[in-house]
Subunit: 418 residues, 2 copies
């Protein structure tokens, strides 16, 4: 099996002012070609630490990927540490230099002299040109260690991600054809059921399947069930993977919203697109989080045209025609107000569906009767309005995600009926 180790370089990752998304991105992409990310290590921008981590990784894996430290500032030293460690001379790469100059010219900002250092590359390295930034990546063949390749990539995800997909993955597939195992990895995305319940429903049904590895990953409002089947024969692995999927689907039904790398909002937008339906949103406590999730999906403008954020009672009455007596009798956080918000949004936007949320995100604003975390979620169609009541004891950000997760799932189930 092709074993890959990741070394993230950057004091900022250990000082905590940036979240490291590289392991998540690379792990997912490597899993898809049958390679395994066996370890990830993060070190600070010190030559000794970088070198020690890279040496340990080069001794223990087939491929080592490093991220970060390729930029123009004085703490970017990966390039020099690697050249020094491997005894490689540096040369100026003309195409990398041209890319740097072109990017600055196009942005019409003055070019600091220091950025030119990014065009220095070790001799013998394959240069991975950067379509989204100035620092090129490097793929360096290794001869005197266990690892056969050291691949250094720039830190910013918007530069690293396309470089990895377009240049590194094809290189790995070509170089390690024989080492990529026969395996089938399927990740079932489950919504509306807890982790323990998912395990109780599937574990006994799945555990006797030959070569299976079962994993669970719980997030707020979502559980991933990961099934990997390994074996000797392609057709056997495929057959058992199909069998495992059939059993998982039987046990979990329509709580599985997708298989693989997607999001609930993407699934919902696709269903709306396929059925040619329009959606409007009316949000109080989630403050635009639902609309933001929907509009993160490319092409969502075909199905989503307008939404309201009505934090105040006044805005609920004015824009969504929520009757004043409902607000005064039941309060803004109530079943009747959620219902009136989604029906108002449906009417005003003239859409096929509307989703509305009203609740108390916290940390303040709760009462004994309606504690922090209380939320009412309404889905309206032309014929019917359904309201769910939940209590989500979560921080503000997770509350928003979990509440909009329920809203999206209500709409998904409604669209599946059609």
């Amino acid at each position: 099996m092709l074993q890959v180790e990741l070394v993230n370089i950057g004091t900022e990752l250990l000082m905590g002012f940036v979240v490291n998304t590289h392991a998540s991105f690379l792990g997912r992409k490597l899993c898809n070609i049958g390679a395994t990310l066996v370890r990830q290590t993060c070190v600070n921008d010190t030559a000794d630490h970088i070198r020690a981590s890279l040496e340990a990784a080069l001794a223990g894996s087939d491929v080592v990927i490093s991220t970060g430290g390729l930029g123009p500032t004085s703490d970017d030293i990966t390039r020099n540490v690697v050249a020094d460690m491997l005894g490689l001379k540096m040369r100026v790469d003309a195409r990398a230099m041209e890319n740097i100059e072109t990017r600055f010219r196009r942005r019409q900002v003055e070019m600091p002299e220091s950025v030119r250092s990014q065009a220095l590359v070790p001799e013998g390295a394959t240069v991975l040109y950067n379509a989204h930034g100035t620092a090129p990546g490097l793929a360096i063949p290794i001869s005197n260690r266990r690892a056969r390749w050291l691949i250094t990539l720039p830190g910013p995800p918007r530069e690293l991600n396309p470089m990895f997909e377009d240049q590194v993955l094809p290189l790995l597939v070509q170089q390690f054809q024989n080492q990529l195992p026969i395996s089938d990895c399927r990740i079932f995305r489950v919504v509306g059921v807890g982790e323990s319940s998912v395990e109780e429903r599937v574990e006994s049904l799945l555990k006797d399947i030959p070569g299976i590895e079962i994993g669970y990953c719980a997030r707020s409002g979502e559980v991933d069930l990961r099934l990997v089947i390994r074996g000797e024969q392609q057709n056997e692995v495929h057959r058992w993977a199909q069998e495992a999927e059939a059993r998982a689907r039987k046990a979990l039904g329509d709580t599985i919203f997708a298989v693989g790398d997607t999001s609930l909002e993407r699934v919902v937008v696709q269903l709306l697109q396929t059925q040619g339906k329009l959606l409007a949103t009316a949000e109080s406590c989630t403050g635009g989080h639902l609309a933001n999730r929907i509009t993160l999906v490319p092409g969502s403008s075909q199905v989503f045209r307008e939404g309201w954020i009505t934090y105040s009672n006044h805005a609920k009455a004015k824009h969504l025609e929520v009757p004043g007596h409902l607000l005064s009798e039941h309060g803004a956080v109530s079943e009747p107000v959620a219902r009136a918000m989604s029906e108002g949004a449906l009417r005003k936007a003239e859409t096929d569906y509307a989703l509305a949320l009203t609740g108390i995100a916290g940390p303040d604003g709760g009462t004994a009767e309606k504690p922090v975390g209380t939320v009412f979620i309404a889905l309206s169609s032309k014929h019917h309005t359904e309201v769910k009541h939940q209590r989500l004891q979560l921080d503000r950000e997770t509350f928003k995600f979990a509440a909009t997760q329920t809203a999206l799932d209500m709409l998904r189930k409604e669209l599946l009926k059609a």
Copy 2:
């Protein structure tokens, strides 16, 4: 200096279906007490790998913190691996068991038998009770290795984060008083200037300050400048830190929006609160991202009452009274339409300020004249509307962040004038 090492346990972190936010959170909190996160390693849920990583960390640092693998499912084995490695017997902790039972009773869901295993703790360990979940953390004193404490924490951030702040940090401060160094760490959050320009402006001014360490961290639409001063004497360290801050502020002016752990939206909400001003938003291309950022700030309901998401031309005309001839003559993505959107939002919401964004997030929808990434950002007050035009060549999510970053910064600068 107190050196801390972090070991994240979880195959899901290496398979890529969850982003590891622990290093970011813990690194920031440790930096605040003068401790240093020297390394972070992520391993899968295999007993051998967990044990090898923990042993390496216990040999190289003063404190080792592990995350994950304390849950109820079959791949949660951290507790047993640790007890086995350290030769500790397990006991049932009555209070942890009570917490588990109470949580299930309150959620009114049936309790799977497997969750009881989470109340098993090694003898001699201090139990860190979990206010937000069922798995307790453990603080285990270590006698025969370099490290003096091994602290195991649950994986979900909403459980780990409060447990770390409320229980682990006080323990570390109490146990390691003498090892916490004299240092001053200040992080300047800069908006509207690139990383290279920040370095060019400050590096030569700061580098001769005794005991200084300068670091830069670039994100889309933001740069962090990190200054750490170390020394022998508290008053000297403090004096040089003040001097460094004065020089950084002189060089960077009002592009510094904050010092330390906050967000631009939090700074803007605080300015609005202090000045008693109200804000409305009108979003096209950002689809609720701006409103979502603002409403992530607790207490934002005092300054933000309503917002619109007007993806379609029809919605722009209907809700924000954007004149039809502007839309047909200039197109929805134009300076006049951005201006009309923010002035319409200001008028309809009767607020002191309104922000509006219209642009092309991509990946499709661009033209030669208005390529993907074009965005017009408008800020209206009663007397004046200002419109900025940007071209942000970014993926959809980063585009939204960078565009709303500019919008928030326009409002911040306006509020600073008042």
